[in-house]
């Protein structure tokens, strides 16, 4: 079989980053994308942190079609009948180079695919890869429909469900507890209205997360990101949590209830729904990481399970970019040696282990086991709201000392055996 150098399956952030790094070198690079164009199958919450990846592709970011740079962070703890919001406005977040941006993937990935094409790689849309071609246990190409394409190395950038990692025998069967479902609405609003409503000027944006009663006592949360002329509003809920919660309830109306809550209703008032989307989020982390390489194949991005949801930060896109680039580095080395077997490709994992990516996944390997505790989602948001309410309350009775009010509430809700156990569990993250 005739072979090109690199076939990248999936034209999302991981695949395109890999292609971008390889293009212009002495390599033929083909990206196969199953959608109409790059981005047409991708969904983010979404926000991308540039800090860890800016220098990996320094020439790319200028002119990138991000939405707004995040200048304000907010976190709302939702309880029954009350909520507490803390907000951070920071000059550091509002200075170039901006640390993070809100983003819409359809627009961003299509632009990125054009950049990759300009640099000399081929991005072919409407191509679903159906299978790997194996020869003596080694990956030597892919099948797409009737077509067979030979490759020295295949990069599986085929997303969270990675059928290629499965076909290559590199990952274990999926389990519900290792995935969350994200579903969101894009709600269109005039630019001026968004800026007035959220107190933003120019391209400033807000990232607002919600934890507590909105997910009805199960692991998950809500998010709101301001785009230039729309709001991304959605939720993330663990699949296992949906399966185990009582009473049984379908997941999609929970977003409608969230939209109706007093904290959210006014923020989206007058907006028009222009898209409803859903996507899986890998949450198993390093504990269920697949084998990342074998003879003739590498796995990058969501396909490798590179995501990290810590409730207050939700990460994944920068992992996709970084892993795609590190895969490209390993491929360049392999090309020099003229050997694309597992041994030289193992360099990919070495690069990951020495980078922020696997260091972070290692640091936070227990995040899922800590966060699956339902008390973070029902008991504690309620306790914080109750405490705050009591501190602020002035009624017909003489006001007791603030300290005794606070201490009494804390003893009731947090400073007991269960509470101390829960707090101690946080040491693991």
């Amino acid at each position: 079989m005739e072979k090109i150098d690199v076939v990248i399956v999936g034209g999302g952030l991981a695949g395109l980053s890999c292609a971008y790094s390889l293009a212009g070198e002495d390599l033929t690079v083909l990206v196969l994308e199953r959608g109409d164009s790059s981005g047409s199958k991708n969904v983010t919450g979404g926000r991308i942190y540039l800090g860890p990846i800016r220098d990996l592709m320094p020439d790319l970011w200028e002119g990138a079609p991000f939405e707004r740079h995040v200048a304000k962070e907010a976190l709302t703890l939702m309880a029954e009948g009350s909520s507490t919001t803390i907000q951070l406005s920071s000059q550091k977040m509002n200075q170039r180079p901006y640390p993070s941006y809100t983003v819409l993937r359809s627009k961003f990935d299509r632009w990125f695919a054009d950049k990759v094409t300009e640099k000399g790689a081929y991005v072919v849309p409407e191509k679903r890869v159906d299978d790997l071609i194996l020869e003596n246990g080694r990956v030597v190409g892919v099948k797409t429909g009737e077509e067979e394409i030979g490759a020295e190395v295949v990069v599986a950038a085929d997303g969270v469900l990675s059928f290629l990692a499965e076909k290559a025998g590199l990952r274990k069967p999926f389990e519900p507890q290792h995935f969350a479902i994200g579903f969101k609405e894009v709600i269109q609003l005039p630019r001026k209205k968004i800026e007035d409503r959220f107190g933003l000027s120019g391209d400033e944006g807000t990232a607002h997360l919600f934890v507590g009663s909105l997910t009805k006592g199960v692991m998950g949360g809500g998010f709101l990101y301001t785009n230039l002329e729309s709001i991304s509003l959605g939720m993330v809920i663990g699949i296992d949590a949906i399966n185990k919660r009582e009473p049984r309830e379908e997941v999609h109306p929970i977003l409608d209830e969230f939209k109706e809550s007093p904290d959210v209703r006014k923020l989206i008032e007058g907006g028009t729904l222009v898209e409803y989307s859903a996507h899986l989020i890998p949450e198993g982390g390093i504990n269920v990481m697949p084998k990342l390489y074998a003879d003739g194949i590498l796995i990058v991005g969501d396909a490798a399970g590179f995501g990290l949801n810590m409730l207050i930060t939700v990460r994944g896109m920068e992992y996709a970019v970084a892993s795609g680039i590190m895969a490209a580095e390993a491929i360049k080395e392999a090309k020099k040696k003229g050997d694309f077997s597992a041994r030289p490709l193992a360099h990919y994992e070495d690069l990951l282990r020495n980078s922020f990516l696997l260091k972070e996944l290692e640091t936070f390997r227990h995040v899922l086991s800590v966060l699956k505790n339902p008390r973070w989602f029902n008991h504690y948001p309620q306790a914080v709201c109750d405490l705050y309410e009591k501190l602020m309350r002035i009624d017909e009775n003489p006001k007791p000392r603030l300290f005794s009010t606070a201490y009494g509430e804390l003893r009731k809700s947090i400073l007991n055996l269960q509470g101390i156990k829960d707090i101690l569990s946080l040491r693991r993250i």
Binding site: D36, S40, G145, I181, I242, R248, L280
Partner: protein, 91 residues
């Protein structure tokens, strides 16, 4: 706004054949019906006349939740053919 009205805002290019198939021999013994509860597009239902599970593939957001939530392995799920299925314009 109903879920059907939400899905009506999305762009779909539906193929003729479904990319999701169910193994009724597994579904008939299932009590939990995880698929019904976790599909964000509300595509799963029990046909009360035939007493069989059914899934409407047009309107699928291609998240794959059903394949993972069904721990009994009834759901065979593939991506729609290239160029078909949901086409996100925002994402």
């Amino acid at each position: 706004m109903t879920i059907e009205e939400k899905l009506a805002q999305d762009a779909f290019k539906n193929d003729e054949a479904s990319h999701i198939t169910l193994d009724q021999s597994i579904c008939k013994d299932c009590r939990e019906r995880f698929c019904i509860y976790s599909c964000p597009a509300h595509l799963y239902s029990l046909n009360e006349e035939t007493d069989q599970m059914q899934v409407e593939f047009a309107g699928c957001l291609e998240c794959g939740t059903c394949m993972i939530t069904c721990i009994y392995g009834s759901v065979t799920w593939n991506y729609p053919r290239g160029g078909f299925g949901v086409q996100y314009r925002y994402g």
